[in-house]
């Protein structure tokens, strides 16, 4: 893929850190601008589109359960799409389908208007559990995808350096992942995914297990890295505020079977802050719709409890 050349730094030039304002937040207009990159090289062709994705599977009692029902979504090049929904709505499963780790019962995943099947380094998933390889150092983890693609060694080394610098982990290149904190591991996973230079980055609740401060920091970092690399991102979360904080667009999924209930365009200026009143207002609107779905999921759980009692 060819990211927007205006925001893609060359490997030769040192990575510039954006300037932080007095509040510690990114100062608008300072350093590499944090701007949405919609339509960077799209010609109207969506980077990723999901056409009629459905998934059903056999449960233990032999009946079929419909997990995902006719999902249709289009993601523009360079767009940041957030998918929110109650737990159990199949949003993680949807990412696994896009990544090609599982096959859908019906429907197609298209990247640049071409149907994709199975895994491919054009779609890299950052797992909720990260799945960093404990037997490799941080640098080797970042290098892994490129090694599998048989990228020449010199180029791999250069890119490993570059992406580690991008996530501010250069000095931890030779550490093992268990020696790092949760937030640092997140950044290793991000660097590892970015290093394969995927068309689309799939993120499955990556910040759910982190403390609030670390998460805030990683929101800033992700927004910056997204702007610098021009990647298309599909980000799954159950946290509506997080979705509004990060996304150009938010898709709300229903509870069992998972469908796209509504899409919201988040037309707020960047960089955003989680505590912004505008973020809170947009989140409130989505949250009202989400609450309905959460109630449905609770009812189902409550109902099951009654049956078993």
């Amino acid at each position: 893929m060819t990211p927007n050349p205006a925001v893609q730094p060359s490997f030769a030039s040192d990575h510039r850190r954006p300037v932080r304002g007095a509040t510690g937040r990114w100062k608008a207009g300072a350093g590499p601008a944090v701007l949405p990159l919609r339509h960077a090289d799209g010609n109207g062709v969506p980077r990723v589109s999901l056409k009629g994705i459905s998934l059903s599977y056999k449960t233990n009692d032999g009946s079929r359960l419909l997990a995902l029902d006719n999902i249709n979504l289009k993601v523009k090049p360079g767009e940041f799409l957030c998918v929110v929904g109650p737990s159990g709505c199949g949003k993680s499963t949807l990412l696994h389908l896009i990544a090609g780790l599982h096959a859908a019962t019906s429907g197609n995943v298209l990247v640049d208007d071409k149907i994709v099947q199975g895994t491919g380094t054009d779609r890299i998933l950052i797992f909720q559990e990260l799945g960093l390889f404990p037997w490799l150092t941080v640098g080797q983890n970042v290098d892994f995808g490129m090694k599998m693609k048989a990228v020449p060694k010199a180029e791999r080394e250069e890119k490993t350096q570059y992406y580690l610098r991008l996530v501010h982990l250069s000095q931890f290149k030779d550490s093992y992942t268990h020696q790092l904190s949760g937030g640092m591991r997140q950044r290793v996973a991000l660097a590892r995914a970015l290093a394969t230079e995927p068309d689309v980055l799939l993120m499955d609740e990556p910040f759910a297990a982190l403390d609030a401060q670390t998460r805030d920091l990683l929101h800033d970092e992700l927004e910056r890295i997204w702007a610098e690399t021009g990647r298309t991102i599909i980000f799954v979360t159950h946290n509506v505020r997080e979705a509004v904080r990060l996304g150009d667009r938010v898709a709300l999924m229903t509870f069992r079977p998972g469908r796209v209930k509504r899409e919201y365009l988040i037309d707020l200026p960047r960089p955003r802050v989680l505590e912004d009143i505008t973020v809170a207002k947009s989140a409130r609107e989505i949250l009202d719709d989400l609450r309905e779905e959460i109630n449905k999921s609770l009812e189902e759980q409550y109902g099951q409890k009654e049956v078993s009692a």
Binding site: A99, L101, T119, G120, T121, I124, L125, F127, E129, G131, L132, F133, P134, W135, F144, G145, K147, M148, K149, Y176, T177, H178, Q179, R192, T196
Partner: protein
Amino acid sequence: MKRFARHAIFYGVLIGIWVVLAKLKIWPTYVFPTPKGVAESLWAGFADHSFWIAIVVSMKRMLLGYSLSVVLGMVLGLGVASNKFLEETMGGLLVSLQSLPSICWLPLAVLWFGLTEKAILFVVVMGSLLSVTIGMETGRQQMPKIYGMAGRNLGARGFKLFWYVLLPASLPFILSGLKQGWAFAWRSLISGEMIFVSLGLGQLLMMGRDLNDMSQVIAVMMLIIAIGYIVDGLVFKTIERRLQHKWGLAPAT
């Protein structure tokens, strides 16, 4: 240092008791040798090269048999782990076969291969094969699934996925199988050599008995313990410790 002192006291007392018992002359020396006699036997054995030759012969058999069973065991373990039918049927058979002491294969081996090196190799392989196989199989099954998914996601497929992801991810399990396999192979080899007369440590042991030379018997027993300890306690423990450190399983030192 304190640890060393404790060990020194323990072994000092042990040898002391031995010396006293030997000095009391309750039993004749060819039944109950003195520590001095054993030390002399050790010295003589190394001096006339008979110990060295026995060690080399035994280790050669060990390495050959063990390498064979590692390769076979890995292939077998992978096969069993990757096929549900095999896992259910052969998995159970493997576990039950493991309760059979491998020396029980000797009569068959002698029938099939005659009194040759092949027969002893067969016993060694049968001793360690099952441990390696079971280790490999559990490794492939117990390994967290996330690593396989992450590997596929990052573009690893087929042999590359196996070599760079599945194998290292199941290494801690495989290693315990390899370690157990080595211990079983060592026991099998020595028992095989004791019955099967041709060079090696086991045969040296039996020779000591035939000559009523208990000093030599005990000296050879010490050798067998020492070699077992060096490989198990030093080689495998070191690999294990390194692996645990890398994986973050052991407390950082």
